[in-house]
Subunit: 190 residues, 2 copies
DNA sequence: ACTTTTGTTAACAAAATTGTTAAACATCAA
DNA sequence: TTGATGTTTAACAATTTTGTTAACAAAAGT
């Protein structure tokens, strides 16, 4: 892999996977096995590296939604696929959303970039239709989306804390998370 | 308020409420309106201030659980009270758990401190009983707890990101969150 | 009153982190 | 082979952040 890409991937691994949001350029360089100056060579500054990673994270998040949510398959099946895809990504990058949140909070993002996801908007419409049909309990489709993402993401994000509070082993916790894909699908269609 | 307490409260406000997890001692001091040296006077080092805040966050989290989950009231009512209490706290300190997670991840916590929550254990038993009775759908009580906390916390934690992705105004989002207390209770008892 | 303790501050020192530069190195086309 | 280009590195400089000190102020105790 070329080193520019390597640096980016390593940064993502530290941020999204290890949850190490405070990483210094030196720590990133060490983890990548490259000279720290290369970070400046390729990204000019630490801040620009962070911005790049941030942007790509939002992009990949949105393109993931796009990939699945536009599929022309029956709703229930689409949901099944979606949960599958999204949770796989969650296990790979549990802290991606957490990173985004901290970035948004730390820079006082007066970002004009339009981040709105068209796929999500489309998905919301589809949910509304299902509610009309009676397949789903009626209500604001946004709450349905909230519920869906919450049920998938939160236990993953909270792993280190809940392991402590519930006194569960790493393996047991992992097994519990694995069970959830099916459970969520059931719960969603109560 | 004495300044030691003021510093701590300000740090908590920055971390838990503003989501500003990178705060420097200078920024904390400025926000508190005190001289930065006072932080060293009262807490010796930045790291010890963080540790103190961390510990107190875990303690308050656990004592909150204790306060509500041991109550001797019917299960459904207890849950209603719990959701009420917990979501009120969530709105005050949306990023408390996020702070805990980043701290756990950044220090390689070889913490021997037992963090296990007895209240949660007790709550799990109660849930199991309700499942026996048929009041709740059967399953691993832990998943019930996962679901409960996920539904409450996640949309709150993700506020800045979801506002962007869904293109919702601050006020509208706030209103949506406010609606959830009731919705969660209904959903839980499907 | 004055002595001791506690709180507060600015100035300084030390450490950590980031950014820059110039030279070494590699690759490859002319 | 040369030289043009892009890559990599170490050494250095600048900046930011943290920690320490000593002086001063306020409060409390005697």
């Amino acid at each position: 892999m070329n080193k520019e890409e390597l640096i980016k991937q390593t940064a993502k691994d530290l941020f999204f996977n290890k949850g190490y949001l405070h990483a210094t350029t030196q720590e990133i360089a060490d983890a990548a096995g490259v000279n720290r100056s290369l970070i400046n060579y390729y990204f000019r500054s630490r801040d620009l590296l962070f911005q790049t990673v941030y942007r790509e994270a939002v992009e990949s998040l949105k393109s993931q939604l796009d990939k699945v949510l536009y599929d022309n398959v029956p709703f229930k099946e689409k949901l099944s696929i979606f949960i599958d895809v999204y949770m796989k990504e969650l296990l790979k990058y549990p802290y991606r959303e957490s990173f985004l949140i901290t970035e948004i909070c730390s820079k006082n993002f007066a970002l004009k970039e339009k981040k709105k996801s068209a796929a999500l908007a489309h998905f919301l419409k589809e949910i509304a239709e299902e509610m009309e049909k009676g397949t789903l309990k009626k209500g604001d489709p946004i709450h349905f989306v909230f519920d869906l993402f919450a049920l998938m993401s939160f236990p993953v994000i909270m792993t280190p804390l809940y392991q402590k509070l519930l006194d569960i082993s790493k393996e047991k916790y992992k097994a519990l998370i694995a069970e959830r894909k099916q459970l969520i699908l059931e719960k969603i269609f109560n």
